[in-house]
Point group: C2
DNA sequence: TCTATTTAAGAACATTGTTCGTGCCAACCA
DNA sequence: TGGTTGGCACGAACAATGTTCTTAAATAGA
């Protein structure tokens, strides 16, 4: 018959080399986000990369929201949690945060999904648990430690989201607002912006990663004041 | 004729009580976000609230992204910036951050637009300028002050976004994850989550606003270590 | 061998942002 | 006063999105 090709067959894994599984969907989705950004992650895009239609995905994934949650879980599963050490807990917590940052930045824009995900996910909980243990090992009292881990993950998420959005804007149209361009704009500001004009150099200095380290250390140093 | 009603007329402000202006669009859009959340803010929704079609908006607003930027600008215009006072700068910076927080939380979800907006907007720059001046008045060195204001606005944005998203989830289906429900879930966790289980009380304690104040003070206290 | 359950897939629906013509009114110019 | 022009409003339509309904096929079990 006309539609006797392997691709046209129906039924479970009919003529398909690899059947559609949840893992295959996650892997394909991550590849798309890595290459084209989170905005390009649509059900149709995933389906077409799997050489099928969008409806076929809904047998394995309840929602796009559900897919997002699975992606974040996969990412969180990739961060290594060191056993808390009271002597090196500062380096440890920074290392964990940096791992999360690297994972999120590798998949541009996915931090938007991370912010929306409910914190009851198993893998995100595992990461929170690890961070809480490290801060507790630093001798911080439990209430402060709990709220601090919360603040830290929120900041990491926000940093990655902002960075991804800025990069996306930079990719579109020549919006690559270079440092020189920013300095020129600040210099052209009216005198109602005295501080911005005077400290334009400081405002535009430093890479994104340097600012990340700065803020993390700022928060951790704040802890020192309340042991 | 049949279509001789005032609403059916064409041309600029034909038979219309209020002509379509940028301000009218902004006001209508803010009303929608305030009542129904940012997710409900569509061009069609704004147009229909203005009793017209979606195409009519594009004569005054280039984009939805442009509309978002206008909304954020309007919100930023509403925050009062006190003249920097070296004696009360801590209260001042907290006050400004709390004002932004209140503005954003009044319009649920709009912080998503705030994160995407380029920081070259006039009104957002005005707020940044005000915050920078206050931190500088605290005797903080310019480089630290610049990066700190950055970190502070990023945190405020992220906090509001997270709060809005959580509230939205709570509105849908009975997902109102109460504190008791959370405590029960933490208690049911396996023993691989010792810290989370032991300090479930601390993890779930405190209102969102209390956590907000905590984190702000944490960051500001961190400043004290490097005057 | 026959039946039932699971899985793949086509087609379609409701929404979204956005654009293309097409009128219509108001103001300007001679 | 009469004709022209420019800007504004709008209906219709297009492409893309998430999601569901229905159908068909293949496998597992009796």
């Amino acid at each position: 018959m006309a539609n006797d090709t392997a691709a046209a067959r129906r039924g479970p894994s009919a003529g398909r080399k690899e059947p559609i599984t949840v893992d295959a969907i996650i892997e394909t989705a991550l590849g798309i986000v890595e290459r084209e950004g989170y905005a390009a992650l649509t059900m149709r895009r995933v389906a077409s990369a799997l050489e099928t239609g969008p409806a076929s995905l809904y047998a394995h994934v309840v929602n796009k929201e559900d897919l997002d949650e699975l992606l974040i879980g996969r990412l969180c599963a990739g961060v290594e949690l060191p056993p808390p050490d009271p002597r090196t807990w500062r380096e440890q917590i920074i290392s964990v945060c940096s791992q999360i940052r690297d994972q999120y930045l590798r998949y541009p824009g996915i931090s938007l999904a991370a912010l929306a995900v409910v914190p009851t996910n198993t893998e995100t909980l595992r990461v929170s648990e690890g961070m809480l243990g490290i801060v507790l090992a630093g001798g911080v009292d439990p209430q402060t430690a709990a709220w601090t881990t919360d603040a830290l993950s929120l900041y990491v998420n926000a940093f990655c989201l902002e960075t991804s959005l800025k990069d996306r804007h930079a990719d579109q149209e020549g919006w690559a607002v270079s440092r020189d361009e920013l300095l020129r704009r600040f210099a052209a500001l009216p005198d109602t912006f005295p501080y911005t004009k005077r400290h334009a150099a400081e405002l535009t200095s430093g890479t994104a990663l340097a600012r990340f380290d700065f803020t993390l250390n700022l928060i951790i140093d704040g802890l020192g004041n309340r042991n």
